[in-house]
């Protein structure tokens, strides 16, 4: 029982990273119709940002957790204005390709400067111990990651559900043309929403720095899994993306724990689930069919 609870907790922590990334992808997709291939690169930049702040400016984790997402959101918004914006009227595939190119560039820029070796990042001193849950103990840092990610998801949900901005974003996601016709300036919100999505990826990256090896390729394979997660949840559905993220995190952690002799199982589960979803509900578990062709 203790082991099971611990594995479940690990699954939720893994799911929290997927959730932050999938949420950012879903918000950006909803507003811009762009599947941001560079999302994994921004996650990696988030982790590197934390590392650089600590190593070169001596700024601890707490600062990084807010400063790095803000800075990367700024970079993201600049890229949106300068590049992505120019292609929004074309087939969404062009922006997918554009962000793929950006991902290559960002990744290789970091490789150029810092090399390909992994850099360690110490667990923040205040979060180094363990938390005792009675039945089991758990590293305090992981508890913090899970809590922080859940709060971030909750904030995004509250903003979308309860604020004026959220109403505009949801309306523009459903029917951009109709929203414009009602006299709402949709274009004004596109860049900030892109920035917010990037900030979520950066938060995931900063949170990952003390737990996972910081290296230029850390986002490269992760983003593919996140793509599969949002296909499972339904890319148009923000709730679906987050739910699928936690579900996949759990399944992977259980697979790692109970099928450890076959590591392949936890690696490919997400793709097998995706195949099943495509057979059964091609639009994703919580998605709606787009133009039926």
């Amino acid at each position: 029982m203790t082991g099971f609870l611990q594995n479940t907790f690990n699954g939720l922590v893994g799911g929290a990273f997927y959730a932050l990334l999938a949420l950012g992808l879903a918000v950006i997709f909803g507003m811009l119709r762009v599947v941001n291939f560079a999302h994994g690169a921004f996650y990696m930049l988030g982790a590197f940002g934390a590392y650089v702040l600590l190593a070169e400016a001596g700024l601890p984790f707490g600062y990084a957790l807010f400063a790095v997402p803000l800075a990367l959101a700024g970079i993201g918004m600049a890229l949106e204005r300068a590049l992505i914006h120019r292609l929004t009227r074309l087939d969404p595939l062009y922006n997918f390709l554009l962000t793929f190119g950006l991902a290559l560039i960002l990744q290789d820029l970091v490789k150029w400067r810092y090399g390909v070796q992994s850099t360690p990042y110490a667990t923040p001193p205040g979060l180094a111990g363990t938390v005792d849950f009675g039945l089991f103990t758990f590293p305090a840092y992981r508890v913090f990651v899970l809590g922080f990610a859940m709060v971030a998801c909750l904030i995004v949900w509250l903003v979308l559900a309860r604020t004026r901005i959220g109403v505009v974003v949801r309306a523009a996601t459903e029917r951009p043309d109709l929203t414009r016709a009602l006299g709402i300036d949709v274009g004004r919100w596109i860049t900030p929403v892109f920035g917010a999505g990037i900030a979520l990826a950066a938060v995931a990256g900063v949170l990952a720095a003390p737990m996972r090896a910081v290296n230029p390729l850390m986002g490269a394979d992760l983003i593919i899994v996140v793509f599969a997660v949002v296909v499972i949840g339904g890319l148009g559905s923000i709730f679906g993306s987050v739910a699928a993220a936690f579900a996949i995190g759990l399944v992977q952690a259980w697979g790692e724990a109970y099928a450890s002799q076959w590591p392949i199982i936890s690696q490919i589960t997400v793709f097998v689930v995706m195949a099943a979803v495509l057979l059964w509900r091609p639009a994703g578990l919580f998605g709606r069919e787009e133009n039926p062709a």
């Binding site: 120019r86 292609l87 390709l97 290559l104 560039i105 490789k111 593919i224 392949i264």
Partner: protein
């Protein structure tokens, strides 16, 4: 004009290893097939596959393993590899064609990554990160160890593959594919089973990519996990977009340029290839979406 171009193209292809380092010329051939395979889907069926490394790489592995274990002559080993790639494309394509547009790209990308993970874990067959080494290159007792001669041995296979792609595009089947691309609802209303046409195009494209991948294994006499990684799929897409989507021959031009460029970068010791190819790609997508061949064709028309 068309015959003139064809004659020039054939002339260049025959002369190539005399003007270039032969292994680079061979690499251009392999990538040309890969790019044309992607363009068959992207340009003529409207499906962007971001997972074609699954077919390129699986064919490379099958080709290499057959050559090592069974000692087949290399064209037969390559053919077997391409057939294996086509076989793998059936289930993947069956699932992927249920989605269109951007989703199709994401789904193919994800399935290819699954193939990559499986190959990575299935060490008894793929030898994991060491890769498959010392792939023999035989053709009925001829000595093909010199890359210069191997180029001429591989050229007919590539020419056949390109001719096949050209035939597909200009066949009634190819016209239906274009109809499916431009107006799927109408194509369906006219009675064409849209999913089945897409699936067949996908499998044919995987076969062509597999031909390229098998030759690639033979060219390097070595198969690594890189052949299955999504960056390989991405490079092929870059080649197609640079050459020109929906132009078929653009992929050939694009592969020649990218392979030459990467060789030059490697020679000059610059390791961040992604910085250069990514930069070229971003500029192409932003300013130059017709690609090289598309731009030239348009200039000629106007």
């Amino acid at each position: 004009m068309r015959w003139l171009l064809l004659a020039v193209g054939a002339g260049v292809a025959l002369w190539l290893p005399n003007g270039l380092y032969a292994p680079v010329a061979v690499e251009m051939l392999c990538w040309a097939l890969f790019a044309v395979a992607i363009d068959l889907l992207l340009g003529y069926t409207g499906l962007l596959s971001f997972g074609h490394a699954a077919f390129w790489g699986s064919s490379a592995y099958v080709t290499g393993l057959i050559a090592i274990n069974l000692g087949w002559p290399f064209p037969l080993a390559v053919l077997a590899g391409a057939l294996a790639a086509a076989g793998l494309a059936v289930p993947i394509g069956y699932l992927a064609v249920r989605r269109t547009g951007i989703y199709f790209a994401m789904v193919t990308l994800a399935f290819a990554q699954m193939v990559y993970y499986i190959a990575n874990e299935w060490r008894s067959v793929t030898r994991g990160e060491n890769g498959i080494q010392d792939v023999p290159r035989t053709l009925f007792g001829l000595d093909l160890s010199d890359e210069y001669y191997f180029y001429y041995a591989a050229l007919p296979i590539v020419a056949l593959g390109l001719f096949g792609a050209w035939r597909i595009v200009h066949s009634p089947f190819g016209r239906v594919l274009v109809a499916v691309r431009d107006n799927p609802a109408r194509a369906r209303a006219l009675g064409y089973p849209v999913h089945r046409y897409k699936l067949l195009a996908f499998v044919l494209s995987a076969f062509l990519a597999g031909l390229g991948g098998g030759l690639f294994a033979m060219a390097h006499r070595f198969v690594s996990l890189d052949t299955l990684h999504w960056t390989t799929s991405g490079k092929a897409v870059i080649v197609v977009v640079l050459g020109g989507i929906g132009t078929l021959w653009g992929g050939v031009v694009g592969s020649a340029l990218i392979v030459r460029l990467e060789d030059w970068l490697a020679f000059s010791g610059f390791e961040q290839v992604g910085l250069v190819t990514g930069g070229i790609f971003v500029v192409t997508v932003l300013l130059f979406r017709r690609g090289i061949w598309g731009t030239l064709a348009r200039l000629r028309r106007s």
